[in-house]
């Protein structure tokens, strides 16, 4: 389960609108408690995929990931998830998302239609399938 405040979700939605018609991406920092995660902050990251591909692809480089990992540790937090947007596409994880996803992290996807943030979903790789398939992960929000 991922607990996250409406305020942080609002920040993610705003990022999806700023990046439109391209995909946005960023980190969700928080605390791990067994399989439960609670989000404390989010941090946008520059989409490092090729400019011409950014409308349907995002890449976070190892260097950016490293900086985020160090940032989290300084704040006594963990990276608990990754968010990105699907411009003019449903917030369903794509096969590309699945094949590039990593275990444990929550994957929040926001659909952004005509520049306005729409529905969002949260998925996690299913340990029961040896981390080969996404399943919806419960998300608990508060004001």
């Amino acid at each position: 389960m991922l607990e996250i405040s409406e305020k942080l979700l609002g920040e993610i939605r705003l990022e999806s609108e700023k990046a439109y018609p391209n995909e946005c991406c960023g980190f969700i920092f928080g605390k791990m408690n067994g399989t439960d995660k609670s989000a404390v902050s989010v941090l946008p990251n520059e989409n490092k995929s090729e400019q011409s591909e950014q409308y349907h692809r995002f890449v976070i480089t190892a260097n950016d990931m490293m900086s985020a990992e160090l940032y989290a540790r300084r704040k006594k937090l963990d990276i608990v998830g990754i968010y990105h947007s699907h411009p003019d596409c449903p917030a369903i994880p794509s096969e590309y998302d699945r094949s590039h996803a990593l275990a444990v992290y929550s994957y929040i996807i926001v659909s952004c239609r005509n520049g306005k943030a729409a529905e969002y979903t949260n998925h996690i790789l299913d340990p029961k399938t040896n981390y080969t398939k996404f399943i919806a992960e419960e998300i608990k929000t508060w004001q």
């Binding site: 991406c25 692809r57 190892a62 490293m66 990992e69 411009p87 590309y96 998302d97 590039h100 275990a103």
Partner: protein, 485 residues
């Protein structure tokens, strides 16, 4: 040296949920070895079969990637911080493979014709115009090509390319319903074009009455948005896949045999390719073709329509394309199954370090074992049907062994033949007279080659021959009353 290894959240399940480990080693290589020794579970995710770290895992010392330092030989000192960092990527589902391209505005007549598509919000005017603007190449105009061509034409795909070198035969008509009795002897692509024009005269049909080869594949496939592989042999399947990967096109695949079929979308941009799933073909001759093993006539109709449906989804965009999944169908049991298939980072064409970058230099015949098989076949002595007839008429003592299946013998019995299945040749070889010539007979002269080799390998000392071209050649050259099938 004792260094601190920082473990990101995603890998902690393999390190007893510890976020930091203290490990020994003078170099990164040694530290990584300590890690895998102490936490063997990490090997599964971090290391490939070659014992090296997988490419998507990056190792940092402090804030420097070891790729920019000395790789595994990068020295570390007490108190250094080492981090294992995975790279992250993702993206939206496949929109239309056509991107933003649309066909011309729909005419009123087209609006009427495609009304049932236009009523679907998932297709609508935009989807129908994408279909109108789309170009699809169908490789093979046989069983699978039939429903592909018929349904894609009816759906309003703007341009259909058909490639097949073959002509319509009577034995095709049981399943290749795009061709009719009057088309026997005509090029399949010509016959199919006529049928398509009957279904939908608005479709532009390009025909290629030739074989798809490595010399024409890139040029031809390059002119189309999607390829539907409706071929019946491994050489063509690998060739279609490779050309599609190199050109960034989806390969909508289908295959079948007897009562079973399969379909998948091999699209390297979005998921695995055919080589990720099947790194190598089975040995030549192990898997018989439909011509040898038979196929229930409805099966290509089912598998080919699955392919047509996937083609339409890729053009219209949306839905859940059959990327990264393989659908298996058993018509006799009426069962569908689905397998998830993964991209292979070591795939020789769509992997991280591809070795196949040019079709010209690749030997498809050798890869598919065709050359080796031809050489093996050449080693077995054959006899022409007319020669066998002449010697039988001359009263020579010849033993004829029919190795066909019982249900084939029910179609027609070969005169004066003894029945011995290939599997029993070894133990029943003393039933043969080594002083007389023995001739093996099957439908096409292929299983009989296997029979001769089996017998000789079992130590038989007499002379054994294969009837060239089998009973079908016997019918053509000697006795037309013997049915061809």
């Amino acid at each position: 040296m004792a260094v601190t290894v920082l473990i990101p959240t995603t890998l902690r399940m393999f390190t007893g949920h510890k976020s930091e480990l203290t490990l020994d080693g003078a170099t990164i290589g040694e530290v990584i070895k300590s890690l895998s020794d102490e936490y063997p579970e990490t090997k599964k995710v971090l290391f490939g079969g070659d014992g090296k770290l997988r490419d998507f895992v990056n190792v940092f010392v402090g804030e420097n990637n070891i790729r920019d330092l000395n790789g595994y030989d990068t020295p570390v000192k007490d108190g250094d911080e080492v981090m294992l960092i995975p790279a992250i990527a993702g993206g939206s589902p496949v929109e239309s493979v056509l991107g933003e391209r649309l066909g011309d505005k729909l005419t009123n007549s087209e609006i009427k014709r495609y009304s049932r598509h236009l009523l679907l919000k998932e297709i609508g005017v935009k989807g129908q115009r994408r279909l109108k603007g789309a170009k699809v190449l169908i490789v093979g105009m046989g069983g699978l090509g039939t429903p592909l061509a018929q349904y894609l034409a009816a759906a309003g795909v703007g341009t259909l390319g058909l490639i097949d070198f073959d002509e319509v035969e009577e034995s095709n008509l049981q399943r290749q319903v795009i061709h009719g009795s009057r088309d026997i002897g005509r090029p399949k692509v010509a016959s199919a074009k006529d049928s398509i024009k009957q279904i939908n005269p608005l479709v532009k049909v390009e025909t290629y009455n030739e074989r798809l080869t490595k010399d024409n594949a890139l040029d031809l496939i390059g002119q189309y948005d999607i390829v539907a592989d409706a071929s019946d042999n491994y050489q063509t399947r690998y060739l279609v896949n490779d050309a599609c990967v190199l050109l960034g096109k989806p390969d909508v695949f289908g295959a079948m045999y007897q009562f079973e079929g399969q379909a998948a979308v091999y699209y390297a941009k979005e998921g695995p390719c055919y080589r990720c799933m099947y790194p190598a073909p089975p040995p030549a001759g192990l898997v018989p073709s439909c011509a040898m093993g038979g196929v229930v006539g409805v099966l290509p109709g089912i598998i080919g329509t699955v392919q047509a449906n996937e083609v339409i989804k890729l053009i219209v965009g949306g839905g859940e394309p059959l990327v990264g999944r393989l659908v298996l169908f058993d018509a006799w049991k009426m069962k569908w199954r689905q397998l998830n298939i993964c991209k292979d980072p070591r795939c020789p064409i769509c992997g991280e370090k591809p070795t196949i970058t040019d079709l010209e230099e690749y030997d498809y015949e050798d890869f598919c074992g065709i050359k080796a098989k031809e050489e093996e076949e050449a080693e077995v002595e054959g006899i022409e049907p007319k020669e066998l007839k002449r010697r039988l008429d001359a009263g020579e003592k010849i033993t004829i062994i029919d190795v066909r299946e019982p249900h084939e013998r029910a179609i027609a019995k070969f005169p004066n033949a003894i029945i011995i299945p290939i599997g029993q040749l070894d133990r029943r070889q003393d039933e043969l007279d080594p002083d007389a010539d023995t001739v093996f007979v099957c439908k096409e002269g292929k299983r009989s080659i296997l029979a001769v080799r089996t017998l000789l390998e079992a130590g038989y000392k007499g002379a054994a021959y294969n009837l060239k071209g089998g009973t079908n050649a016997w019918s053509r050259d000697v006795d037309s009353s013997f049915p061809q099938y």
